[in-house]
Point group: T
């Protein structure tokens, strides 16, 4: 059985690969998406990559995942620190949820140390770079399996 | 070449597997250690598992890792939220550093939302359960490779 | 004379009736809208029900109400606690304004105890459940009459 | 069956109708009480209106309501913002509880934005003026019916 | 014309003269009251001295002063720092209002540096000792005259 | 010589034994009072039990204890967290003073973690249940003896 | 060479000229835009005026400016005080950036004293009224020249 | 014996009588000084009036008073809220010290509710208008007499 | 059946009896231990007294108590205010737990008013002096009996 | 008619041109003054440039401007963040007031994000470099004209 | 080569030796200055002692030191806790800078625990009494030598 | 007579000389210890150098110093900011106590601006580099002599 996973990306993540490549690397979100989806196929995961600068789009997509997806990976970008709406939407989704940050937000400004996403997800992965998207395929496969084992 | 990794565990983590198994599972730290070290061998990682309830031991061990280890995985337990000493020791270690939490601390009391470890490490992994120890073998192998690629 | 009333609903309120029915009941926003509009007709109120997960839509609709509507009922959902934009739009609307919450936000997390909407409306109704939508038809009729009496 | 409702009013509400009539209207608490009790009879509610400037009286009366009344409407006035004692008493009362404010406290000083009553009641109604007392007859009738339906 | 002045004293001020005489002197509130009333007669002021340990009594008495008294002197004691109810009652009284403290509260604990009375009165006199009661007869006579001159 | 002890109980403690018996037990304050007074007689303590929902009553009674009683046990209930007036009265009483809480307030809401009573008493006993009233007979006898030994 | 400048306006600024003209004047954003563009032509600036009530639109447009525009003038309205997403987008834009406020936000509510935009721009202009839009043509011409001189 | 009193006035008090006469009256500091000195002569007080906009002048003058003056009246104006230097100088002066404010600072902005002067003086008089300068002649005469009586 | 009780003492408590005897008395921890153990024997309690200046020792000993002891008395000294590790260990121990302080920490510096121990124990006893150790034998015997009665 | 403008500069601005020229440029305050006064002549503005390291001088000069000048430009330097005295003086000046900062204070330490000047002026200009002095000639001419147009 | 050192003393330090000699000793600032200058001569340091109660004087003098002095010793007294202007001036001085306090400010009021000087100097010496002035001759000689060795 | 001095060093100070030599120099703690002890011999001081990463060791050693040593120099490293236990131990030691920091903590993160050590020592020396250890031999000799002179 193929599991459906939404990989939702928030504001400014569409600039990946074109801005500050010494920090974020030169991979674009599109190439990350391609590589991950290919890896997902091998692991039995159907990955749906999306990006928007609109908070409301992220809320819409999380709601769309209800009843459709087994898990959500969310890199909410700047909305991580300000969005109660995304927090609420995530809490309405019963599947497995992972919060992803490319860099480690605790090395940046104090207003990035607060996350409304963290208290609405199962797991948090931060600071592993853009490779984290590839790594999460393994993690999710295992996590969903673990969840399955528990049930 | 085999890489040396220290996996340091803080206070009360020696109780793993014996307390609240419905949350933390029934694996002990010893069995986790065994499985991870076995997996590490396959990945070219020599994992050194240690646990102590003493803040000073964790500082001692991080210092011991300097010049010896390529990376540190640290689950500082309760010292995560109070120890500037561990923060300072970690900043003296130049290798790859990952902060690990079995559960998601943002679902617990407010005093667990603050981490002195987060601002001294490269990456953070939380809420993936005891399986996270096994997962980090993959993560570390990839991360150290990524670091290698950058250099 | 029929009075026009906008009933604006914020993020995640489109999930009403399908999530946690033991708390929020099993009525959908659509059925609430139908019942209220029917009741409104009897009371001389033309109710315009809308919902969006986008903060900007709520701002757009409040502006649309200027010069068109006699009153606004707003359940801003999560934006209640974070949106200065909605606060400003409401202050530009001169008609009668009521803030509505289905549950009592003071029984939930501390970040839900702060409201940017409360200081921009005339009245606040919270914790009366989904029946509050039906009740507000009476309240608004009376409130607008009271306002009329004052002028 | 007639339901018993306590309508408890805190400090300075006995001045209603005599102070700042342009804001609070010219109705006294006595005339409000009369009109509401009359309306209550039609709705099957026996309303008990009381007012005191003493925090302890309000606590006494809430306790008196235990086992006697089906609901409490409380306009705790200034004690809203300072009284843990009233909070505790309300939590000991199992019936339906509504917090009432004539004006919208969020348009006033910051110390009026905090309420110890809000986290001990089912519902909150604010800013509807002195007419709110009349409106709550409808609200309570419906609310108690709603509660009945749930049980 | 004789002016009526209420001199209201809050909790623990009935202990004056019997506790810590080295700080507060050995005059009782009764003897202060006698001396002040005698002095008041000469200045055309009819002084009404009262003391209570009950917050509600102070609110009752301030309300009683409405329409009856030209001024209020209030030493609210500990309620100075906690009572919004007294603040509200004072704001309903249109006459001249002075806050009085025997000692200087800024030389004591931080929780005594906050006053809900100060923002509801015209004037504040603190740290002048028990003689302040006698001094206020002069002050009030002048202040009421000044107010008269302004009108 | 028989020592006089005031045991003063604040708001809502008159509900003991009738509310949430699984937490507070089924003993009423009256039966606790009877048992303690009987035990007190054996220990040479004359215990005076009182309860009120009025802050002012507690202040009145503490003042009444001056010169009459050797010690005060005070369970100020909700006033623990808000009453400077009780704090001041207790500081005027020179005898031995114990603060008593049936449950442990640190396991409840944050506003119960602050106590104005704690900084005005000699000792604090919390979380020992209703049996604490019986235990304090021993404690007080010993404490007063200890105080005697010091003098 | 003509320089491209984006002039981005946030929520509720489309109401300019129609609301509170005694404060904001009677010019609409359209007439301001026309006048500024005309003046810009003389100064060698091609001004692109846009307005949206949607936070995401502002982020989209700032990204659109990358590589296209030499400067951004942003009046983010209410999003000034809440949007980390706009902050991040601005930091990705390397050209000259000015924050503009028609009125002086420090004369308004405290929540308007905080700006996430200020720490992402080069310059701030506030309180110069709607004429500020015309003035910025001069300022930008000079500023871009100054920047040119530095390089 | 004539007692020497320094009456020190801080920044902007030289504008008295020329700015906002409806609030502060039309008396200048010079005319207040003349009237007070005349009154002082009758009461055996030699009043030295000074004003400066410089914090350092106020510190200099307080030091000058040491060993020369029996008392200081200080209206430190804006330095009330910011000057630790004046606080320290006042604490070095052993005579009687009164803090004077023409208006009641608690009716103004929050930053005027904090006073570094209050914790360095014996007494505080606020909100009595410009007449307070005349009144303090009486107060000081009495206060110094009271101090004398104590010694 | 003899019950096992651990009496754990934190940093600097080994100095008891030798420092500030006018406050803490002249009994050493050893003599207190001897007297308590003797009394414990009579009450059926086997008391294990330990002291360490090391936070980790206290964590080790609490863990050692799991499965071995029926109760823990802990005077964590300075670690009371800083140790999350001790908090966590205590929460892993299911037996009866009492927090003990010789003096009343609320009469000392503000940083001693916060306790990480209080929210992890059943009961708190403070300010009863060194005699508290003897008193707790009674308390524990009763408390464990009470617990037994509940089960 | 020539308008008089005071351009007041606070502490350390006399170092302009000699310190950190890469940030602040190499123009001295004297050369800026010369250029601006020359430009002012053309625009009908008589600019009075002053600088002092003394808070009191700035207060003196603002008072001197009353009745003499049409506008004040103030770069209060470090006193921006600490001076209530300058705030008060500015509020006594009825002409047009602009706050000027050469660099953007929001890019510096948090204590520079607070301004007592901002809430006492009409307009704020920051981060435009030393050229801002020249630009303000245009701005002031326009602003004073705008003000004239309003009157 | 003789090195020039400015020793700058802030408000109230001119009272040294005459106030509270049991704490500060009986040496005046003049005698300290004489002794230090004599010692300085031996160490190759030309010490310039100054004192003022004016914040602006201290700023003036620090600026005067630029290009003239090799080091500054500053005891800013009360301005330590409030002066951003002194902070800024010190940061413009490139030589060696030491902050000096005669007593230990952490044993005094909380507002003395904050220092704007500390973050603008190289070194801090506090609580060594008036002898610190003599000691700093040694320290400075060594420190300047150390600095020399580094360059 | 030789005086005994404990020089206690906290966590990570054993890394001195091997980490960031450009900041901390290349001297190890051992070589510093040797040089200081040699210098101490000349000054009549017997210096006992110790280092540990364990908070409890520092507490143990401070206690060991009681009755044995005349003074303590403590560089508590990271425990400076978190250890109440070390604070308490230091307060139990009656000899002369100096807090030492190699770098100036006010130039680092905010959590290093708080010190529990500062309020338990006589003197503080910070930012003088590793040479501070040598300098303190002079300081201590003088300080102890000064103390001797006072007694």
């Amino acid at each position: 059985m193929t599991r459906k996973i939404f990989v939702l990306n928030g504001p400014n993540l569409n600039l990946l690969g074109t801005r500050e490549p010494e920090i974020y690397g030169s991979k674009t979100l599109e190439s990350i998406s391609s590589e991950c989806r290919a890896l997902g196929v091998k692991k039995g995961l159907d990955l749906e990559f999306r990006q928007s600068n609109h908070e409301g789009d992220l809320v819409d997509w999380i709601q769309e995942a209800i009843g459709v997806a087994d898990g959500i990976v969310i890199n909410a970008g700047a909305y991580t620190h300000t969005s109660v709406a995304i927090h609420d939407a995530l809490r309405s989704f019963d599947g497995y949820k992972i919060e992803l940050h490319i860099s480690n937000p605790h090395l940046r400004e104090p207003f990035r140390h607060v996350s409304y996403v963290s208290s609405a997800v199962d797991s948090i992965v931060a600071g592993l770079g853009v490779d984290a998207y590839e790594l999460l395929v393994d993690i999710l496969a295992d996590a969903l399996d673990g969840q399955a084992r528990k049930n």
